[in-house]
Amino acid sequence: MAVNYSAKEEADGHPAGAGPGGGAATGGGGAVKTRKPDNTAFKQQRLPAWQPILTAGTVLPAFFIIGLIFIPIGIGIFVTSNNIREYEIDYTGIEPSSPCNKCLNVSWDSTPPCTCTINFTLEHSFESNVFMYYGLSNFYQNHRRYVKSRDDSQLNGDNSSLLNPSKECEPYRTNEDKPIAPCGAIANSMFNDTLELYHVENDTRTAITLIKKGIAWWTDKNVKFRNPTGDGNNLTALFQGTTKPVNWPKPVYMLDSEPDNNGFINEDFIVWMRTAALPTFRKLYRLIERKSNLQPTLQAGKYSLDITYNYPVHSFDGRKRMILSTISWMGGKNPFLGIAYITVGSICFFLGVVLLIIHHKYGNRNTSADIPN
């Protein structure tokens, strides 16, 4: 449009400047000098430029280099991944033989809670720090209705949101005319099985210390999640006027005995609130620190897992798992990355060879045909 108009104006000498006395200015004579375009490299499209072209010759080295870099990286990752110890138990109790089978159809408010114990044996010792995860399958934490069903202001300690949670929390926003804290489907469905690990040696069960701090992101725990503020530190008073999520046995201010792990800043809660990307996921539950350099964190041997089975998954065909894993610089066991690197590296190397052949067979023809011209 703009070009259209202005150019037209120029061509026509739009009468804008053609008033009395202005008539002379519209003549071509005065404008000649200004119309001559500048001789700048940019305007003449002659900026100095690097003009690479992708030919077999130039790309060949790149392919070989990628191959040569990727294959060792892949091997490194693969080896690291293989050195990681991981142990996984499904404790859903689908099979009738499973000790947890009796708890399969547990409901939220069953009292006393159903408990079961699963014995297992670690073939290899876990040398470094061990991370204990719980895993859920077929659980759609990434469902849209679920993901948005939270109020981040409430969780950040905003007092007005505490008493008046966001609409997004519906239908878990209020209960009996009281606002729910924390509101929303995510909070309401917080994982509440208790897992305890025992080392069994000669029929004596030694409880393994499970550390419950440091499982959530530091920024989440210290910035994103905050308890409501007010007079004093008494959480019960601060949460006054709110009610507990429907499915929870006790209110949020009674999640833990320690004040720096209670309320919204309870780490189990924070971990749960970070919704998983895929329907099969695991979440960090506890840490098992290596006590001394002399013995491994978890020796090979018999162990038993005590489960307080509260969390029903059978209704949606879900599974529950407990995972013990060591961690390297590149995380847990992940064969994909290593294999992918090796594969891509090999493909690049192979393509490099193919291109080399093509370059030799056809390349000479092209260039020799062209250069004499």
């Binding site: 119309r35 003449q44 003009q51 990434n142 995380g331 056809y362």
Partner: protein, 1061 residues
């Protein structure tokens, strides 16, 4: 005086608002607009609604508005901001641009409307603002002032009742034109006298036609005497023209404000759309179909998946009451819309903005080009529309005018032939013949030489001195002397020149009282009307001259008896008085008068070729562009020019399809003979090219004239009209060059249309410099005007105007080529990057229970097209040069013909590349995240980290893909590409680095930083980028190696040349 002329379709104007004497005619007051010029579109009040309405009339904007409204109404996955913000941005930018333009127009209008004008009111001079002028007001205009409206010229300060004007601002012709005051009023010199005038003017309702005569009739009342007087365009002074060499004039306003000829001519012409735009729209429809099918697939799958109640509503994720109660079908429809909204980014808002900006900014490179600036005229190229930039690189047919375009239109006298004797300048003549005197008399009488006053004369003395100090603008003093002889003759009538008759005549009365009619014109229009004279000798000379490429002009005369003259005068008067079909009637009268001539002789002038015309045509032909010359000239002259400018070569076999040939054989036979010749050859050509021996192929040139063309175009009686046309097209297709001579302006447009609508739908370009080329300039896909001598009409109606024909070479072969390559990459890349962007979202639906959960954060969804990936491609589309401009000029490569880069194959390749990349991004991230730990502290990532990882890979891949496609890396490219990647990182750090107080969610808090702290995420990003780019690199290298295109060969060649030096 016949009052039956007075009709509703005409307007009646009472000069000075004086009503006619009672009883003569019923006084019907007519309402006319005031003299306000309104070029602005909006007012302060209607700007917002009107502008919004205009903008949402564009389909794309409307589509985005609908999406935005859907987002507002239903519960959609992405916030309305994601599509509202870009839309708002686009709309605001456009509105600001248009508002600014309109403000400028308002300013110009106001300046115009408020400039002072002198009126006559009650015998006194009054100053008023121009906008207060009304139809019927008497206006005084002084020297160098512009006429404030269309005026009828009543009287001037010059004794002879003439004035001079320049119409430079109307049509660019800076020459002075003479206008004549109305005979009866030219003696009124004072305000009082003028004010006493009692007259009525009847004229046509306003029409935009600037050049054709408009008919006016005027009734004057002097006391009780009533008589009428015809008025013509010589009495009309147009708004926008400037008064020159005349102290002051009086005139009466007849058309004011928006009804002036100038205002009527501002109306914009019809929009032309480029082939790229058309394919872009087709692709859009394809993508719309993809979008709808994606949404449909997901909706259907969602309901299949949800048929198990535990999936639809597991205990942990219950619906609200209203959701449960909602009607199933309504719910399904809402879901469908929600999916549409989720995937709507596949049709990007920003593409339209970027394309517009690319065209707008890109066209500056054309106007900036130093090589296309003409030092002589001080003119550079003009871009009247930037919509067709890329079409310049797509041209397959060039239709060029000859005179003034291929040739300089700068006539040099070569020789004249009088009654069979040839005279050449600087050769001593043998002695005067009787015919000689008559011949030169004819030459000097039969034209309109311009007279100019000496400007240096002091104003007071001017009127006294003006007679003596006239300067004749003429090529030689001899001619001036001859012209001065005009005083011995009295000019009775001028039968002015027009391009249909191709001749002009004057009727003069000599001092002895004899009445002569002198006529000069093209030979074809003179010879049939000649009854005596040395016809054969002159004809052979004329033909010889024509073969040499000279322009010939024949001169003839006849003597009229007093009776014949009075007859002729009566007929002319009647025709001039006619209100309807005046031109037709005049033509008929001219036809009757101009006959039975006595041939005097012929002149020959040479019209030199434009510099580098031959070079340009050769280059265009080398680029595979077919060049057709369309001219009104005679065949021999035109053919000679064609040889001179290398359109026809020595080995070109000329095929003629002319009236002469058709007279010998029937049109049918001629056409079939020609097609046989051509087709036999083309048959052998394919065989030759198979055996690789097609080096010296025979090429054909076709010459056709206007009469033959109209025969071909005329539908046949039996209704099978298409037959000849097809045959003719078939012949043309096999000719390397075609010359159409003896063409009327409308026939030029016909030819262009014929080719344009032929079955290959080639892209056509018409280039010309004169008013007679306007029709073909408007008809062709791209119309180019030469800013030339025959006025600016062509340039004004064209899409692009260039100073010289030679500039066409760079314009088409370099600029057009670049524009096309750039914009096609722009379009394809935009679709590609949005497939990459949206397809992972589609895949993610399979893993989130078809719940329309977006993969990326709102900010990423919003900014992806606006800021993360928009600038590099915009810059690419402005700067890319895949081969250098010099190479393009030297070896015009043809890879872009027929919209090659936007064909389905290319489109499908890009789309599949996009899908492949999207699959790599998504499943790469999927396997990286699937049920495993990717941090070194054992903590887990959530869905937003997953999306951010995919998004990061996406932004890097599409940007690097563009980097791979860039062949011309200036520092600006480096800056933009690396800068936009850096911007993405900085933005992500910032976006995740703060708890944003105004947002009700903090989902991105520290997500990006946490991701960067993870080793596997880094490794994954690098791996996925490599894998995504690999196939494209491989395809590029293999294609270049095994099946190189012409462009690629040249690139390699230059590359190796550079290396070897």
């Amino acid at each position: 005086c016949n009052s039956s002329y007075c009709r509703n379709t005409d307007r009646t104007i009472y000069v000075g608002h004086r009503e006619p004497p009672p009883g003569t005619e019923a006084y019907i007051p007519q309402r006319f607009p005031d003299n306000r010029i309104v070029s602005s579109k909006y007012t302060f009040w209607n700007f917002i609604p009107k502008n919004l309405f205009e903008q949402f009339r564009r389909i794309a904007n409307f589509y985005f508005l609908i999406i935005f409204l859907v987002q507002l109404i239903i519960d959609t996955p992405t916030s309305p901001v994601t599509s509202g913000l870009p839309l708002l941005f686009v709309i605001t930018v456009t509105a600001i641009k248009q508002g600014y333009e309109d403000w400028l127009r308002h300013k110009a209008d106001n300046a115009m409307n408020q400039c002072p004008v002198h009126f006559i009111q009650h015998g006194k001079l009054v100053r008023k603002q121009s906008r207060k002028l009304r139809v019927g007001d008497i206006v005084m205009v002084k020297e160098d002032e512009t006429f404030p409206c269309d005026l009828i010229f009543l009287s001037s300060s010059r004794g002879d009742g003439t004035c001079f004007v320049t119409t430079a601002s109307l049509d660019g012709e800076s020459s002075h034109k003479t206008h004549y005051a109305v005979q009866d009023t030219k003696a009124f010199h004072s305000e009082q006298e003028i004010d006493a005038l009692h007259a009525t003017i009847e004229c046509e309702q306003p029409q935009p036609d600037l050049y054709n005569l408009l008919f006016l009739s005027k009734y004057l009342y002097f006391g009780m005497f009533i008589f009428c007087r015809p008025l013509g365009s010589e009495n009309l002074l147009l708004r926008g023209a400037t008064l020159k060499n005349t102290e002051k004039i009086f005139g009466v306003a007849i058309y004011t404000g928006m009804e002036t000829k100038m205002a009527l001519n501002y109306q914009s012409k019809s929009q032309k759309r480029s082939a790229v735009e058309k394919s872009m729209n087709v692709f859009l429809i394809v993508y719309l179909c993809i979008l709808i099918s994606k949404a449909l697939i997901n909706t259907v799958l969602k309901y299949v998946w949800q048929s198990e109640p535990f999936r639809d509503e597991p205990w942990y994720n219950q619906k609200t009451e209203p959701e449960r109660k909602r009607n199933q079908f309504l719910q399904a429809f809402t879901d469908f819309l929600a999916f549409m909204v989720l995937f709507n980014y596949i049709i990007p808002v920003s593409m339209y903005v970027t394309v517009e900006m690319q065209k707008f900014l890109g066209s500056y490179f054309l106007t900036w080009d130093e090589e296309m600036f003409d030092e002589d005229t001080g003119e550079g190229p003009l871009v009247n529309t930037s919509d067709l930039n890329e079409e310049l690189g797509q041209i397959e047919y060039v239709f060029t005018d000859k005179t003034g375009t291929l040739t300089e239109n700068n006539m040099e006298f070569v020789e004249c032939c009088i009654e069979g004797h040839v005279y050449i300048p600087h050769v001593i003549c043998l002695g005067p013949f009787k015919g000689e005197e008559l011949f030169f008399r004819a030459l000097c009488l039969c034209h309109t030489v311009q007279v100019k006053d000496d400007d240096n004369v002091d104003g007071l003395k001017k009127s006294q001195l003006s007679r003596r100090s006239r300067i004749y603008i003429s090529s030689s003093p001899d001619e001036v002397a001859l012209v001065e002889g005009i005083q011995r003759f009295e000019l009775l009538e001028v039968l002015s020149f027009d391009s249909v008759r191709r001749r002009m005549s004057v009727i003069v009365k000599s001092s002895t009282g004899d009445i002569f009619l002198f006529c000069k014109g093209a030979d074809s229009s003179i010879f049939p009307r000649v009854k005596e004279g040395k016809i054969d000798q002159i004809r052979s000379r004329v033909e010889r001259n024509a073969v040499e490429g000279l322009r010939t002009l024949c001169v003839a005369y006849k003597k009229l008896t007093a009776e014949e003259y009075s007859n002729a005068q009566k007929m002319l008067q009647n025709a001039k008085l006619a209100l309807q079909d005046r031109e037709k009637k005049l033509a008929e009268v001219y036809e009757k008068i101009e006959r039975d001539f006595i041939l005097l002789g012929a002149t020959a002038v040479e019209d030199r070729l434009q510099e580098k015309a031959a070079d340009t045509i050769e280059a265009l032909q080398k680029a595979g562009i077919k060049v057709w010359v369309l001219t009104g000239d005679k065949m021999e002259t035109a053919a000679a020019t064609c040889y001179a400018c290398k359109l026809f070569r020595r080995n070109t076999q000329i095929l003629e399809l002319t009236t002469k040939k058709i007279e010998e054989q029937s049109l049918h036979d001629v056409l079939f003979d020609l097609s046989k010749t051509v087709l036999r050859h083309s048959g052998s050509l394919t065989r030759d090219s198979l055996s690789g021996l097609s080096t010296d192929m025979q090429d054909y040139g076709l010459i056709i004239d206007g009469a033959a063309l109209s025969l071909i175009m005329k539908p046949r009686q039996d209704g099978s009209s298409g037959n000849y046309r097809e045959l003719f097209l078939e012949i043309c297709r096999n000719c390397s060059a075609v010359l159409c001579c003896r063409m009327a302006p409308l026939q030029k447009a016909q030819i262009v249309k014929l080719i344009k609508l032929s079955k290959e739908h080639p892209i056509t370009l018409a280039i010309g410099d004169g008013a007679n080329d306007v029709s073909m300039i408007l008809e062709a896909h791209v119309g180019i005007g030469i800013i030339g001598k025959e006025g600016r009409q062509a340039a004004r109606n064209s899409d692009y105007a260039i100073p010289k024909f030679k500039h066409l070479k760079k314009m088409l072969l370099v600029h057009g080529h670049f524009y096309y390559v750039r914009i096609s990459e722009l379009v394809q890349y935009f679709f590609y990057k949005n497939v990459c962007f949206i397809f992972p979202q589609f895949l993610y639906q399979f893993f989130c229970g078809f719940s329309q959960q977006p993969l990326y954060d709102t900010a990423y969804l919003t900014l992806y097209n606006i800021s993360f990936t928009s600038l590099p491609i915009l810059l690419y589309s402005l700067m890319e040069q895949h081969v250098s401009a010099d190479t393009l000029k030297r070896e015009p490569s043809l890879d872009v013909a027929k919209n090659a880069l936007l064909r389905w194959r290319a489109f499908i390749y890009w789309t599949f590349l996009g899908v492949f990349d999207a699959v790599v991004f998504f499943f790469g991230a999927y396997f990286l995240f699937d049920n495993t730990i990717v941090t070194s502290n054992g903590q887990m990532f959530g869905n937003w980290t997953f999306g951010t990882l995919v998004f990061t890979v996406l932004v890097f891949t599409v940007t690097l893909k563009l980097a791979l496609d860039t062949h011309y890396w200036t520092w600006i490219n480096h800056f933009m590409i690396w800068g936009s990647l850096l911007f993405y990182i900085v933005f992500s750090l910032l976006w995740g680095g703060i708890i944003w107080p105004f947002l009700n969610y903090q989902r991105m808090y520290y997500v990006f930083m946490q991701m960067l702290s993870s080793g596997p995420a880094w490794l994954g990003i690098i791996l996925l980028i490599t894998v995504s780019l690999l196939p494209d690199v491989l395809k590029k290298v293999l294609c270049r190696q095994l099946w190189p295109t012409a462009t690629e060969r040249i690139q390699v060649k230059i590359f190796f040349c550079v290396i070897s030096f």
